[in-house]
Subunit: 264 residues, 2 copies
């Protein structure tokens, strides 16, 4: 999906919500298949979000059946939502090329999350397909982010070095960065380094990040944010007859908050 289309979707739906499809066999209502659960969640939230983000771990652990569910889920989403393979890949160049092929061609995703540890030749293969995006980890939402991402040379922390460096390898049309909502106070620093890039922001909802603060410190002229919620939407109700309606309500509330706070 091209940058302009994503921006237009955000304007049309007055939303920059991404629904994380962390579909957990142990948490979905009894008696419903994973694929049917995903389809119900997608139907319930379609009008309130602009992106879906399947978390690959939850599909891989099921073996080949999981990959079938993933494939059918991506097809079911269609072309009017931005799709993110939350896969945290990254390897030497010829290997990263195969990962890019996997997610862009085999499964048809618009984007893949990428870990930057291995550097330029591990990221570049994800930047070479028009309309496809690398979403590179910068400052993640978990406690472990402080182990290495804030390691500093006295001038920059590692996550700032990643933003500075990776932003020169691509453009705001093919690169986004992951910045966790639980560290919203650092979004101001992030925006000084990458004013024009989209940021994928996990951590609102179950992980406790504040939507108001993320928008305050993170928005740019095109909004420039995809704010992800997973568990708070997917598992809003465990009742097989009401989970979809509960998910719709959660997603709609987030959409309304987004529209209100930004004036979209």
């Amino acid at each position: 999906m091209e940058y302009n289309k994503l921006v237009a979707l955000i304007q049309d739906r007055k939303s920059f919500l991404c629904v994380g499809l962390d579909t957990d066999p142990n948490k979905i209502p009894a008696g419903i298949s994973l694929l049917d659960f995903n389809k119900s969640i997608i139907d319930a939230t379609r009008d309130y979000c602009v992106a879906y983000k399947p978390n690959l771990a939850f599909y891989e652990c099921l073996g080949k059946e999981g990959w079938e569910i993933l494939e059918e889920t991506v097809q079911y989403i269609g072309n009017d939502h931005f799709t993110i393979a939350d896969a945290k890949r990254g390897d030497i160049g010829n290997t990263s090329s195969y990962y890019a092929k996997t997610f862009y061609e085999t499964y048809g995703f618009d984007s893949v999350t990428v870990a930057p540890y291995m550097g330029r030749d591990s990221v570049e293969p994800f930047l070479q397909n028009p309309g496809k995006w690398a979403i590179v980890l910068a400052l993640t939402s978990n406690q472990g982010a402080y182990d290495f991402q804030t390691f500093s040379d006295g001038k920059s922390a590692l996550f700032e070095k990643v933003l500075q460096t990776v932003s020169t390898w691509g453009t705001p049309q093919n690169t986004m960065f992951v910045v966790g909502a639980t560290k919203a106070e650092l979004l101001e620093q992030v925006r000084k380094i990458v004013p024009d890039h989209f940021l994928l922001v996990p951590g609102v909802g179950a992980q406790g990040g504040s939507l108001e603060e993320v928008i305050k410190f993170g928005r740019n002229k095109d909004i420039g944010l995809l704010i992800n919620a997973s568990r708070s939407i997917l598992y809003a109700s465990s009742d097989p007859s009401t989970f979809a309606a509960a998910a719709a309500k959660e997603a709609k509330n987030l959409q309304l908050d987004m529209a209100r706070i930004t004036g979209l």
Copy 2:
């Protein structure tokens, strides 16, 4: 696989060779299936190596058929070789738990390669199963290693900080580190920080690293090295009638060199 069994295999076979199964549909001889290719390579190299390392990218890109080939390949390897899922995973805790389950339980691997960028809670789920191992990226063999892995606070480079920190999360019985053969001169520094851990060393062969130097600077009292070769073995010949014999010869030469240099 337990530490002691791995050390015993190394002693018995006078080898610490790992064969990387980067099985590339575009490079294998015409007229042979990927699974049959893997089986032929395994049969040809079994006596000369102690480990096999399928590179997940090459299987994932084939969709669900690729995962079937992976599953059958791991089964075919059996229990007398250490198996490594070269997957470079790492995500927030509940997600990493699912990746650990995928590779340890669904596919039965002994170990997974893990990217350390997201810190402690992204690595620990890989350390909680007896006989299973996290192999954490420290200093990789590619050019991009210099982008972030050598970023320094003036006392330590990031890869040293990773070695120092991650080695306190587990033990030499459940944690290894990736250190590229193309940076053999840094192995001395690595060994000062982690004298007792196994190191997985890619980059000998096609990438140009020196076996002699890796052994000189990297070995410890139990050898403590798994040296990987992929392309130089897999694609030693592209002739369908001789590729297996050519792979066996390459692997045997490496084994003989290892025995000679170490006096095993």
